[in-house]
Subunit: 362 residues, 2 copies
DNA sequence: GCTAACTTTTAGATCAATCTAAAAACAACC
DNA sequence: GGTTGTTTTTAGATTGATCTAAAAGTTAGC
């Protein structure tokens, strides 16, 4: 070959384009493009010839150029509000796995529950023309945001929390049902004074837990009703349990907004000289990996973050493929993971470990 | 305005381009482009006029198109090997914060320590023409990969582990020093038989810990040397400690590859009827949020994942701005976070919580 | 009023793909 | 050989921003 088919960029990288391959294979650019996109129009002989040239020249597909003309970018934006929380780590792993199977890649942003940060990221995503957004809405998100994103031409799946009016695409756990399961368990163990340590923020995931608590109280005809609202860190768990246990009558069991609060509650009980699981039963929510590690091991409402991530990603891909399809809600049922924090069913040493080993994500 | 300046895409979205703005403002496309990029060439009056048109028409910058002609995409690829691990959650939060400040966004992938998955993702990143890569190399990564990425014209910063030959860009914690600090602490408490529960994988982060252990044994002239190599989950911690404690002589203290192994070791001690911190001291590595939560609270070598993430991202941005600059190694010094697992300095109830509250990332 | 030296603006090519509509190649049939 | 009907291939327009090189507009100096 005497012709020079490649060029160099400012850093000395050779850049092979469709045109170079077309010349090398002796066909037109159009044909090469068809081969790349696996069009059935191309004759077998031609396809093989072109594929050989692609290999020979070390061609790299340029998605930037393709995006300009085409309509898809094979990219998604993902917004979470606390990536440092192990729950979201598992969820992102699930998203990653589902997207990877379909050749998609995702931008990730951590809103830190700030609507302003969230907005900045979404606008950047728009400039990058992502095909869709997985949005765990920051607290205080304007409900019209979902419509706005839709008007931008991007599929939007709300995850864990929802702020818009139905119908919308949504993937989450059934928090209402989860709290009811925990209540049933406690009532079954003989508890009659069950308190709820919940979040104070105004969004769906908090609301659903409250509703579950109230509905279950009614269902079991319990008259003791006590709940505290606060932020949801370990410290808050300590503060809340210390307040509750000095009341009279004190609760005999608490259900917590998440595992962090539950860990705090157990620490708080110990500080008061009380034994978690004996003097007061404790149930958490999420079943993070660390739940099996506390002392006593924490009974928790398993919300399956990895599975939620997978479902959310798959729903987004469905919506991208069919933008006008009917909106879907994928709401997974939680499962109560029973351990020792509601009265020792088993001694500490028999803590279930195998289903929480690192790398075990279904 | 009688002219129709907008068009609609297949979903009914209006798409405003430079040309539309140029017409609206009565200038050329070139001028609008200069205004967008804040060029000092444009006269003040013109700039204001154009900016008004941009606002009026609701223009959205199209990065896909800009990328085609320009050289930067303002995107980065991030590869970690276990996003479900809280350590990486915190690290990714640090990366996100540093990139956000500079208008960058990042693609995230979870290699699950599979070089094949890692390779697939990197090739996708190449198609998307990211400006750089933050790579926590999967175990078994070919050392030439770093050069390959460099030849692709992308900045590559290795994070936590390094596989290439120097010089390279690298951000991590000083694991050698961290282990030495832990050893000093234990020796200061009177321990003479200190074992090491380490990783079996062959990469730099594991090697450096071993070297720290050996160097410190020599420095303190300790003759007892005992170490186990294994994978690094909680279960492995249990298995390893159970083996060690049945030996004679048994160690009086262990230093663990990470906090998960340390948690496992403490659980294992309890199973044997031994008390962690009394019958055997335990030190972990990383100081994840959960370290303050265990019983006893875990003394741990704090490796500051959030800060490592920030530093790695900033280093990548420096390298993108100056591709031919000299390679840098940013190696942060760890700090030994002393709690109760090496003999109770304080009662459990005084566990330090404030510096581990959610959202507190320096 | 003319030239020189700036400052500001612009036309048109370019980047690397996709898409449309038409041309070319080939086969089958009368 | 010409017509019809497929199957393949292709030229050229298009996408939206950037870049280059030149044109147009200003100002200053003599």
């Amino acid at each position: 070959m005497s012709q020079d088919v490649t060029r160099q960029d400012q850093r000395g990288n050779t850049s092979v384009t469709l045109k170079d391959i077309a010349i090398h294979a002796g066909v037109s650019r159009s044909t090469v493009s068809l081969v790349l996109r696996e069009s059935p129009l191309v004759a077998e002989r031609t396809r093989l010839k072109v594929q050989r040239s692609i290999k020979a020249l070390g061609y790299v597909y340029n998605r930037g150029a393709a995006t300009l003309r085409g309509s898809r970018t094979s990219t998604l934006g993902v917004v979470v509000y606390d990536i440092a929380n192990p729950f979201f780590g598992a969820m992102v792993a699930g998203i990653d796995a589902a997207l990877n199977r379909e050749g998609y890649v995702s931008f990730l942003a951590n809103s830190e529950d700030s609507p302003a940060r969230q907005q900045r990221f979404l606008e950047r995503m728009r400039e990058h023309s992502v095909d869709g957004i997985l949005l765990c809405p920051a607290e205080g998100t304007d409900p019209t945001l979902i419509d706005t994103i839709d008007n931008w031409g991007m599929a939007c799946v709300q995850v864990l929390r929802h702020v818009a009016e139905p119908p919308f695409d949504y993937a989450s756990a059934n928090f209402h049902q989860g709290v009811c399961q925990a209540m049933d368990h406690l009532v079954g163990l003989g508890h009659r004074r069950i308190a709820f340590l919940g979040g104070h923020s105004e969004h769906s995931a908090t609301r659903e837990r409250w509703q579950g608590y109230k509905a279950s109280l009614e269902h079991h005809q319990l008259t003791y009703q006590r709940s505290l609202r606060s932020t949801v860190t370990r410290c808050d768990g300590i503060v809340m349990i210390e307040q509750l246990m000095t009341e009279s009558p004190a609760p005999t069991a608490v259900i917590c907004h998440n595992d962090l609060v539950a860990f705090g509650a157990m620490l708080g009980l110990k500080r008061l000289g009380l034994i978690p699981g004996v003097d007061c039963a404790v149930i958490g929510t999420d079943d993070v990996e660390e739940a099996s590690l506390s002392d006593p091991a924490l009974t928790s409402i398993a919300t399956h973050p990895y599975a939620i991530g997978e479902e959310a990603a798959r729903l987004a891909l469905r919506r991208i493929a069919n933008p006008e399809g009917t909106r879907e809600q994928v709401v997974l049922s939680p499962r109560l993971q029973i351990r020792n924090s509601c009265g020792a069913a088993r001694p500490t040493s028999n803590v279930t470990l195998s289903n929480h080993a690192a790398g075990d994500h279904g």
